[in-house]
């Protein structure tokens, strides 16, 4: 903790310093989204919150987040009361901007606390080393200066630091064997942002298996007799009470269907305007290339193909031309199939909290890979917890480097103005240099972290970056195929993410040396 004390002291002011300087940067639509939610929760009665649609950015987070915005709006009143009028669409006075940015910086306190707790869970090797090479320091920097979080929260604007704080804190509590606290925090988190349903199976199965069944047999299998109904009841009580706190008023008003329809809008299409680097990106590209090939080989009529709507940049429903179209049901099935082995593995042979963490990562990645309308920011759900594993094991460090570098690079299109180009490039360089050199130093005794082919793949990222950011805007294709760089980015990164997914699976399923722990 004393190491962390030093690193927090060093790093937090750096973060906030940098962020305050960037107050005048270009704001994204998410800024207007949150301003709109501040206005809705402040000015309208509770019964209208999930019906309001003056602005296109309707409230689509669970009610606990709406209560959070209500709390924020009380403070916002002192900065600029005009931002709380629902009709003031795209209102962005300097006071509003300052307030929003300050709110992100302040709520980041949760994240800093969570990072500290995670650092306490990391095993320190024997022998004093200098501060910069200690695992807890490296973890602290990897978490606090995570490029993705900085870009998404402080430049692009969201409250992910706050939310990830809950996730990491919950994970840390489980690593410290305080399961009820961990469950409580996760319940809060689910009610703040429902995207964390991605990792709910891991929590469910782990808590059921390792917490409700208090003891295991010698060989690691389930001891049915040790089932503790009290523990199950405790968990159930926690979850239901949190849900009641958040959804209660809406259930009482009978608005639950409306709320759920706002939370899960399935009309939005398989992929976002910019494809997240998952399986469906590869699927789309395959489909497109087969279509083009088919036209060239005269197997298909060009007129039969639907217009180029996938790369058209709009979020809408569309169909694939050659391969079968993908419906939400299909994605659900694929997702469940992909996480089934992981979940089964921690049921049959639990490896304690470490195994749970691995399963959490696999659930997050699985849902990212196969989910419906996945946003590329969701890769952070996998990257941040993986940092904890990366500072402890060499193999995980290698996977971390690949996943992080490709995942972070896939966030580049979020910042597309020329003013932000130096910032994103420099921040990315900084994080990459640090993660490579620090992790290499940590695991130097055990050999190199990356296979030469992996290194080549990562260097290829540099080539892609230069091509997309520098070469393409100056080339003649800029007009005809404006979404080509996005396509190339998401496909290239998708390959890296898939590879990391498979390697993580291998590391979970092939693990044999750890004995199951007693709780």
């Amino acid at each position: 903790t004393e190491t962390f004390g030093i690193s927090t002291a060093q790093l937090t002011p750096l973060c906030s310093v940098k962020n305050l300087i960037q107050v005048p940067t270009v704001r994204s639509t998410d800024f207007e989204v949150h301003r709109n939610w501040l206005a809705i929760t402040h000015s309208l009665p509770v019964s209208r919150w999930y019906y309001e649609n003056t602005s296109e950015w309707t409230l689509d987070y669970p009610p606990l987040f709406a209560w959070f915005e209500l709390g924020l709006s009380q403070v916002a009143r002192r900065f600029d009361a005009n931002m709380l009028q629902v009709e003031n669409l795209n209102y962005a006075s300097p006071a509003t901007v300052l307030f929003q940015r300050l709110s992100v910086i302040v709520t980041d306190v949760v994240f800093i606390y969570a990072a500290r707790e995670c650092c306490r869970c990391v095993r320190e090797p024997k022998g004093s080393r200098d501060v910069l090479s200690r695992p807890s320091f490296v973890l602290a920097v990897l978490l606090l200066w995570n490029f993705g979080l900085l870009v998404v929260d402080h430049i692009h604007f969201q409250y992910n630091g706050f939310l990830f704080g809950f996730l990491l804190l919950s994970v840390a509590k489980h690593l410290q064997s305080q399961h009820l606290q961990g469950a409580l925090l996760f319940a809060f988190l689910l009610n703040l942002k429902h995207i964390y349903l991605y990792v709910a199976p891991a929590y469910g199965v782990y808590l059921l298996r390792s917490y409700c069944f208090a003891q295991d047999n010698k060989d690691g299998s389930v001891r049915w007799s040790s089932f503790s109904p009290l523990r199950l009841l405790a968990l159930g009580a926690i979850v239901t009470s949190v849900c009641a706190l958040s959804f209660g008023p809406f259930i009482a008003m009978g608005q639950l269907p409306q709320v759920l329809s706002r939370l899960f809008p399935f009309k939005r299409g398989l992929c976002h305007a910019y494809w997240a680097p998952n399986i469906w990106a590869l699927y789309n590209v395959l489909d497109k290339s087969l279509a083009v090939l088919g036209v060239r080989l005269k197997l298909l009529e060009e007129a039969e193909l639907p217009p180029a709507s996938m790369t058209g940049g709009l979020v809408q429903e569309f169909e694939h031309s050659v391969l079968p179209s993908v419906t939400p049901a299909v994605t659900l099935v694929c997702t469940l199939l992909s996480i089934l082995p992981a979940v089964a593995s921690i049921w049959l042979r639990p490896h304690g909290a470490q195994g749970f963490l691995r399963c959490l990562l696999l659930c997050a990645l699985g849902c990212f890979m196969f989910g419906w309308h996945v946003h590329e920011k969701a890769i952070l759900i996998a990257i941040l917890p993986l940092s904890i594993l990366a500072v402890e094991s060499r193999e995980d460090a290698g996977i971390f480097l690949i996943l992080t570098t490709t995942g972070h690079y896939s966030l580049f299109p979020l910042l597309f103005t020329p003013a932000e180009l130096p910032i994103k490039v420099v921040l990315m360089l900084m994080f990459t240099i640090f993660s490579f050199t620090a992790l290499r130093k940590l695991h130097s005794a055990q050999g190199s972290l990356l296979h030469p082919l992996e290194v080549i793949y990562l260097l290829g990222l540099v080539a892609v970056a230069i091509a997309c950011e520098v070469v393409f805007p100056l080339s003649p294709w800029q007009q005809r195929l404006p979404f080509l760089p996005l396509l190339v980015t998401s496909v290239y990164c998708a390959m890296g993410v898939c590879y990391a997914f498979l390697r993580l699976y291998a590391s979970l399923l092939l693990r044999r040396e750890e004995k199951p722990k007693q709780l």
């Binding site: 002291a9 060093q10 002011p13 750096l14 310093v17 940098k18 305050l20 300087i21 960037q22 107050v23 005048p24 940067t25 200098d130 910069l132 090479s133 020329p418 003013a419 130096p422 910032i423 420099v426 921040l427 360089l429 900084m430 240099i433 640090f434 050199t437 620090a438 130093k441």
Partner: protein, 505 residues
């Protein structure tokens, strides 16, 4: 971790800080008809690109010297020409003769900020990195910490990337000169410094120490033989560099004279605006400007400046070591700043650069002075709308330099070189000077913070409209005067012994 990765991370952080400040407003933004320094630089690009060299410094129909006429030496003009060439390829509207006056757009702002960043990356930042890695003592972590604090100095970042100027180029060249001198490459050092002089004439503040150091070195190596040879080589290099820079203007004497007239405008008064130097502060008590005539003001300032500069330079002449050179640089630039004619508040940067060099040896005093120098420019920052970057960079710098350099820990009398004070004031009862200094530091920082808040937030009473700028400049003046006296005392006391240096690391 390896040094190269730490160094690159620190440099990248410094770039982020700079670019972050760039995104804020610049001087004269949206303020016709004259705008500010940003428009001046843009105008110079316009003038140098479109007009022949002979017309650059002259008042012609195409070149109205009243609207931001060129008043820096030729190297600035050449730099503007290069930038204009690039600007023309991107968007000719930016440098169209006459029509582009007052041109403001987000694209153009990006371009201009980029030129500053590129110049910094090519000249200033490498010099800082090399200086900190090769000319400071200590472990590699200490060197990187010093480099980081050096690069984070708020004054330069805010002026170059906020207000908009190219001080990084001239200070960078001067730093290359200092670096070369420190490594023993005197000829190259003098060439670099000549380039700095040819970029901004204000580098003359540093000229005396360079001269005295090199002369002293030549004398030490023997005025007959190697010393004389060195002197001749340096002289030839300096003359050649000057000739090269002024080449287009040496064709006709009238050309050269006009340039000189532009870069040394003696028709102006003792001071303009509120500056933290002696004359302005004295003016609050006695109205000097109205008492003395223009000529006598000139002579008075000349005399005072010379008197203030001489002790330090003579000491350097007799003991030409690198340590004395660094101190003389600070003393000389401070002397010029405090007593010279027509000083601008931005000239404090010329004293700040040598102070950054002393971050290793005298961390507390150096960072105290650097903080005060940033504070002294607060009214300028407020005028440019740079309050938030000012707060953030100052706090960041203060925090990191105190933490990374352990400035408040190495606070014994020995470290602060306060021994001389004990000898001077032997009749006073023995006090713990280090303790006093630490408390003075806390009080001063509190005063600066308080005044900053007051200047930013409060409205001055109507009969004293300039109350806060005057308070700021007077407080800063007191700090500068104190720093000036202290560094002079340090220069005249014993230099640090090798043993005590090793212990402090």
């Amino acid at each position: 971790m390896q040094t190269w990765s730490l160094v690159s991370i620190c440099v990248l952080l410094a770039i982020i800080a700079r670019w972050g400040v760039s995104l804020n407003s610049y001087s004269g933004a949206g303020k016709p008809p004259m705008f500010g320094d940003y428009e001046a630089q843009r105008h110079w690009q316009e003038v140098t690109y479109n007009l022949p060299i002979q017309e650059w410094y002259f008042n012609t129909t195409n070149n109205d010297l009243n609207y931001w006429g060129l008043d820096y030496p030729p190297l600035t003009a050449y730099h503007s020409w290069i930038c204009a060439y690039i600007a023309k390829t991107i968007n000719p509207e930016w440098v169209e003769l006459h029509k582009s006056r007052g041109y403001e757009s987000t694209q153009h702002k990006l371009f201009m900020r980029m030129t500053v960043l590129v110049a910094d990356l090519l000249i200033y930042i490498p010099a800082v990195v090399l200086y900190c890695l090769y000319l400071t003592d200590g472990s590699s972590k200490k060197k990187v910490s010093i480099m980081f604090c050096f690069l984070l100095y708020p004054g330069l970042i805010l002026i170059d990337y906020g207000h908009f100027q190219y001080n990084g180029v001239s200070l960078g060249f001067a730093l290359w000169g200092i670096l070369a001198l420190g490594l023993g490459w005197d000829v190259l050092g003098s060439m670099a410094f000549s380039l700095a002089l040819n970029y901004k004439q204000m580098e003359l503040y540093h000229a005396l120490p360079f001269f005295c150091y090199l002369l002293g070195k030549c004398i030490k190596t023997g005025l007959i033989g190697r010393g004389l040879f060195l002197l001749v080589r340096i002289g030839v290099t300096v003359l050649a560099t000057f000739a090269l820079c002024w080449l287009p203007f040496l064709a006709e004497p009238s050309q050269a004279m006009q340039v000189v007239r532009r870069i040394f405008p003696v028709a102006r008064g003792l001071f303009e605006d509120k500056v933290a130097n002696t004359w302005c502060s004295l003016n609050t008590l006695i109205k000097i400007k109205s008492i003395l005539s223009g000529d006598s003001q000139l002579y008075l300032s000349l005399a005072c400046t010379l008197l203030a500069v001489l002790p330090s330079c003579i000491r350097l002449l007799t003991k030409p070591t690198f340590w004395h050179f660094k101190l003389a640089l600070v003393n000389s630039s401070l002397a010029f700043f405090l007593f010279s004619f027509q000083v601008h508040e931005k000239s404090i940067l010329l004293a700040a650069l040598p102070a950054c060099l002393l971050l290793n040896d005298l961390p507390l005093m150096a960072l105290w002075f650097l903080q005060a120098s940033t504070f002294s420019m607060l009214p300028l920052f407020l005028k440019d709308g740079l309050l938030v970057p000012y707060i953030v960079t100052s706090l960041g710098f203060l925090f990191f330099s105190i933490y990374l350099l352990s400035a408040l820990d190495h606070c014994s009398e020995d470290k602060l070189r306060l021994g001389a004070y004990n000898k001077l004031f032997y009749w006073l009862p023995k006090m713990d000077l280090a303790f006093i200094v630490r408390w003075k530091f806390y009080i001063s920082i509190a005063a600066m913070v308080g005044l900053s808040i007051a200047t930013a937030v409060l409205i001055p009473p109507p009969h004293l409209p300039d109350l806060f700028p005057v308070l700021v400049s007077t407080t800063a003046f007191l700090h500068f005067l104190g720093t000036f006296i202290h560094f002079n005392v340090v220069q005249f006391s014993e230099p640090p012994s090798r043993k005590s240096q090793k212990k402090s690391n």
